[in-house]
């Protein structure tokens, strides 16, 4: 485990900002009930590119829609990404060429087109009001 990454994550969970806000993320069109959904939220492009999650959660898969809520977020721009661990092995399975073979998606329902969307396409602002965003799973 990357201790620095763990420290950053732990700190972010412990220090609740003064003007904390909520993000509600709807994951839609989940194919089936098997496995889990692994969801990460990032604050800022730099942390996203470095894979340093601000917070993360794992929820049991359910056919249809699931809502994940991140609380206590300070002001700033954020992005969410997730995958559906369909075979419940704790990993995002890929084919021999590295292409995901399990469902995945991004906030803002950012589109995949010959590759993942940019941070700008999936990011949203957290300020005074609660935020709602959604994504349809790409299988």
């Amino acid at each position: 485990m990357n201790l620095l990454k763990l420290s950053a994550l732990t700190l972010s969970l412990l220090s609740v900002p003064v003007s904390a806000q909520t993000v509600q993320f709807d994951i839609q069109s989940i194919k089936h009930n098997q496995g889990k959904l692994y969801v990460q939220i990032f604050k800022g492009e730099q942390d996203y590119k470095q894979g340093k999650a601000y917070n993360a959660t794992i929820v049991k898969a359910k056919q249809g829609n699931i809502t994940v809520t991140f609380n206590d977020l300070e002001k700033g721009d954020y992005a969410i990404r997730y995958f559906h661990d369909e075979n419940d092995n704790g990993d995002m399975n890929t084919n021999l060429f590295g292409l995901p073979v399990e469902g995945y998606g991004f906030s803002n329902n950012a589109k995949v087109s010959f590759g993942p969307p940019s941070y700008q396409e999936m990011s949203f602002q957290v300020a005074e009001q609660p935020v709602k965003t959604h994504s349809t799973v790409n299988y």
Partner: protein, 506 residues
């Protein structure tokens, strides 16, 4: 797995992995709807003046079964079904694809029975085709044609057009496209069954899901199927399937090839030959096919791969060159390998297939049948045969073994498409040629023979007759090609020019 570790691992892969099959396409952000509309206008204008372009107009719907009118006599021992595949829809709602390779595949089925010759054709009902047909418009960007509002493209199979070849496997057909999965088709009804899952019920499982399975598998005389799939990263996956189409072995070859496109390969009885042409794909151009350049300073590489282990044994460097298609390869007891290619001195023909989509018939340098010898000590030699050459075929029972005869298309009078078919004696160099003439656009001709003896049997192939706006299917005696077809069956209309096919004997 510990929760945080799992989360870290997941996105350690970072969905950037999703781009690896077609990484260079990730930068293609510029929508070119106007370009697609302009392309349609240019084509429609050119079509008014050049009747040859009718082969590239395309269709919108399936073709119902019909009986064809026959000239000549259908041989009593010529019974079975001739399947062909090719891109057949190029335009929707005033938007026209920019490259011939982008259209959705359609299977043409010619049935030869005691009652005569019949035909039907159905589009391969891929996920892409089904959605676009329902919407009656293009919904997905293609390799070259970009839409401003494309639906998500999560991998090659999102835009799999299944448009290049059709291979009989274990009683069904596989419609093939070189960048993605094979698509299973019912051989009688032509109904689409779905993507072929090569990893299903094997130890490979999902690791083969969505991998490229090229459009030119090679089938050994015993039915064993070999194939490859490539990406622009230079990784090439190699497949060994049994005669039922069940995966036996898979291996990944890291080649460093940067050409972007790899169309065909060869087998001998011991080896696979992965032949990497002198191509370099630009990472900055916002098209796929148009971003591929010929580099005359880059040698053509031949990777010799052991069939048993699917691992690299040795490598040769040849003069620069490019080939879409190869005829056959074989090796002698000393390990000397011989093979033939329809060899181009550049890549202009790839661009031609973009030009023709806007109604321009340019004049790319044609291919010539070229014979190569690769000695075990590393020495190589090559020589070219006179005449234009494409779509090479051999007798199936000699795949990977020493062959004497090679069938190719040729062009004698026309520079639009092929206009002749010939049988080459590779030992004597003698050619037996039938010239359809410049009124015809001639497509691949395949060998039909049940005796497993070169020179026996027939050739069968389609040709579009430009003046009468009809397509015909033609049967020749394999040993008397220059006599012309002994039987010709006519459709009452044109079908789109396609690429490859195979004959299944009744």
């Amino acid at each position: 797995m510990e929760r945080r570790q799992a989360l870290k691992n997941i996105f350690g892969l970072s969905l950037a992995a999703a781009v690896t099959p077609l990484p260079s396409l990730a930068n293609l952000a510029l929508p070119d709807n106007d370009l697609l509309k302009l392309n349609a206008k240019l084509f429609e204008k050119a079509l008014l003046k050049d009747a040859n372009l009718q082969g590239f107009v395309g269709l919108k719907h399936n073709l119902a079964p019909q009986t064809l009118s026959i000239e000549g006599s259908l041989p009593k021992d010529f019974r079975g079904t001739f399947y062909r595949n090719g891109p057949a829809i190029h335009q929707r709602q005033g938007q026209r694809y920019l490259h011939l390779f982008e259209g959705d595949g359609m299977i043409q089925q010619f049935s030869f029975t005691a009652q005569g010759v019949s035909h039907q054709a159905k589009f391969v009902n891929t996920a892409k085709f089904a959605q676009e047909q329902k919407a009656d418009k293009f919904l997905f960007s293609g390799p070259d044609s970009k839409l401003s509002e494309s639906l998500p493209i999560t991998g090659p199979d999102s835009i799999n057009t299944a448009n290049t070849n059709v291979l009989p496997v274990n009683g069904e057909l596989w419609a093939l496209w070189e960048a993605g999965s094979a698509t299973a088709i019912d051989a009688n009804t032509l109904e689409t069954k779905g993507l072929v899952e090569l990893g299903k019920n094997t130890k490979y499982g999902n690791s083969l899901k969505g991998l490229a399975f090229s459009a030119h598998p090679k089938v050994d005389p015993d039915g064993t199927i070999w194939n490859f799939g490539s990406t622009t990263t230079g990784d090439i996956v190699l497949y060994h399937l049994n005669s039922k189409g069940i995966t036996q072995k898979v291996n990944l070859l890291k080649t460093g090839y940067r050409g972007g496109m790899l169309h065909d390969f060869l087998v001998t009885h011991k080896h696979l030959l992965i032949i990497l042409p002198s191509l370099v794909k630009s990472k900055t151009k916002n098209v796929f096919f148009g971003a591929i350049d010929f580099d005359k300073n880059l040698p053509m590489r031949v990777l010799v791969v052991d069939k048993q282990t699917l691992t690299l044994q040795r490598e040769y460097e040849l003069d620069s060159g490019f080939a879409f298609h190869f005829g056959n390869a074989w090796e002698d007891e000393q390990g000397t390998i011989r093979f033939d290619a329809s060899l181009y001195p550049n890549i202009d023909t790839l661009y031609y297939m973009s030009d023709v989509m806007q109604g321009k018939t340019s004049h790319p340098t044609p291919a010539k049948t070229t014979f190569f010898t690769l000695q075990k000590d590393g020495k190589t030699s090559q020589y070219a045969l006179d005449g234009i050459s494409e779509f090479p075929r051999i007798y199936d029972h000699l795949t990977g073994l020493k062959n004497q005869l090679l069938v190719t298309l040729s062009s004698i009078e026309s520079d639009v498409w092929s206009d002749a078919v010939r049988v080459i004696n590779t030992h004597s160099g003698k050619q037996d040629t039938f010239i359809y003439g410049s009124d015809f656009l001639v497509e691949e001709h395949v060998i039909v023979d049940n005796t497993q003896k070169e020179g026996n049997g027939y050739l069968v192939g389609t040709a579009l007759h430009v003046p009468s706006k009809r397509t015909c299917v033609n049967i020749f005696k394999a040993n008397r090609v220059s006599d012309g077809p002994i039987c010709r069956a006519w459709l009452p209309h044109v079908i789109p020019l396609g690429f490859h096919g195979n004959f299944v004997t009744a």
